[in-house]
Symmetry: C2
Subunit: 221 residues, 2 copies
DNA sequence: AAAACATTCAATAAAATTATTGAATGTTGT
DNA sequence: ACAACATTCAATAATTTTATTGAATGTTTT
């Protein structure tokens, strides 16, 4: 094959893969699937897409081999097709955070409103969890917690916060985490808990980053 | 701001940034700019695009803050807007190589045709360059070599190969590198040199990866 | 001042991406 | 067998993306 033809085909194919990611809904779907395998219905519910539309986006990702699916009875279970998918997603997230001023602005505004004054780094959490100094809460929907969570975290879904608030210790720092740096659930919870007098902070990253780092998790069979 | 609205805006913006990359010509342009700053004309010449079209793609990248430009006389000099751009590009390249079977197939085919039997890792090159065991050649266009190259490399542009072949040592391994893992120029040179009886191999990565790793380079002022 | 040059702009047509809708497929539970 | 259910398919219209063309802008050289 001629060099020119080769070059053209290579970059066309690379663009095929890249275009499969380059859509707001599919970026959300990849973040969701980074939490664990999921049905079409769950994706639709969490993103607010119609089931048909969610299915169509999942097909697009599947054609690009970024996700795989298997049939289980009447359900289709989708999952990320390999570690590179989340790695590329993370690189794009970092690119967005560093180059797109509108993203940083939106994040800063949201966090100011929610008084997310302090963030805890992964290293700090590792240390303080070992010393049993903190109470770690997973504020994602229970379903995602059950698919996999940080070892020693307690499920404390944002949407059920009022039922569970009485079980929280007043004497420990409470650290909340969710789906990752772009996820607002932990901020919402920190905001509410601080107004109730708890000493709450958010983890800077989320479950998928923790897991990708090889840190201890508990996963469902 | 409401959580739902925030989420929507964040992912729309992230898609804006991602879409700016998601085009075959712009992927090539980013790879070119990773070699060093460049004029519109050079980009157009290297990609085969018309100048107007190259300019338009550069505008798209500039609007997304992925490249910056400055005027120097009648020339516009474009460069990557920060290290994250090449990092994300690299992550997408790795994603393509791992998930898109057509890319691996194209690469394998091209390399079989060109007998790129052995590749040299960066670690191996570092060791052997120190011991002066190898002759390192930069096969990119001279212009890119002059903008920046691996320390101790000799310029040996693929397109001028026949004029320079007599200056090569027969007794050393010759290692050729170019723009990166997707670049075919090093393969073309290795192929030709091997047919001439030289012991030639290609570096698995390219100049931008070497530089991003903090390894020693020589850059123009 | 005029010519040469590098780049950008503006308009357009062709191609692609996207969300919506309703029907079709295939599985499970009654 | 039938109803309920999860998902996929197919068709469509609206929107976005893209390459092409030729003119416009602004700089350097003659």
């Amino acid at each position: 094959m001629k060099a020119r033809e080769f070059k053209k085909k290579i970059y066309n194919e690379l663009a095929v893969t890249t275009k499969a990611i380059a859509n707001p809904n599919r970026l959300r779907i990849i973040e969701l699937l980074a939490q664990g395998a999921s049905t079409v219905e769950y994706i639709a519910e969490q993103t607010g897409l119609s089931v048909a539309n969610a299915s169509q986006h999942l097909q697009t990702l599947k054609n690009a081999r970024l996700v795989s699916s298997e049939k289980e009875g009447k359900y289709s279970i989708y999952r990320l097709a390999g570690p590179r998918v989340f790695e590329a997603w993370s690189a794009l997230r970092e690119l967005g955070l560093s180059q797109n001023a509108e993203i940083s602005r939106l994040m800063d505004d949201y966090r100011n409103e929610h008084e997310t004054l302090e963030m805890v780094s992964v290293e700090e959490l590792v240390k303080r969890v070992d010393k049993d100094e903190v109470f770690l809460v997973d504020v994602r929907p229970r379903h995602e917690y059950e698919a996999g969570h940080i070892l020693s975290a307690t499920s404390f879904p944002r949407d059920e916060i009022r039922q569970h608030i009485k079980n929280l210790p007043k004497n420990k720092d409470i650290i909340a985490y969710c789906r990752g740096p772009l996820c607002a659930m932990a901020d919402d919870v920190v905001s509410l808990l601080r107004r109730q007098g708890f000493n709450a902070k958010r983890l800077e990253l989320g479950y998928p980053e923790w897991k990708a780092n090889g840190l201890p998790v508990e996963e469902s069979a």
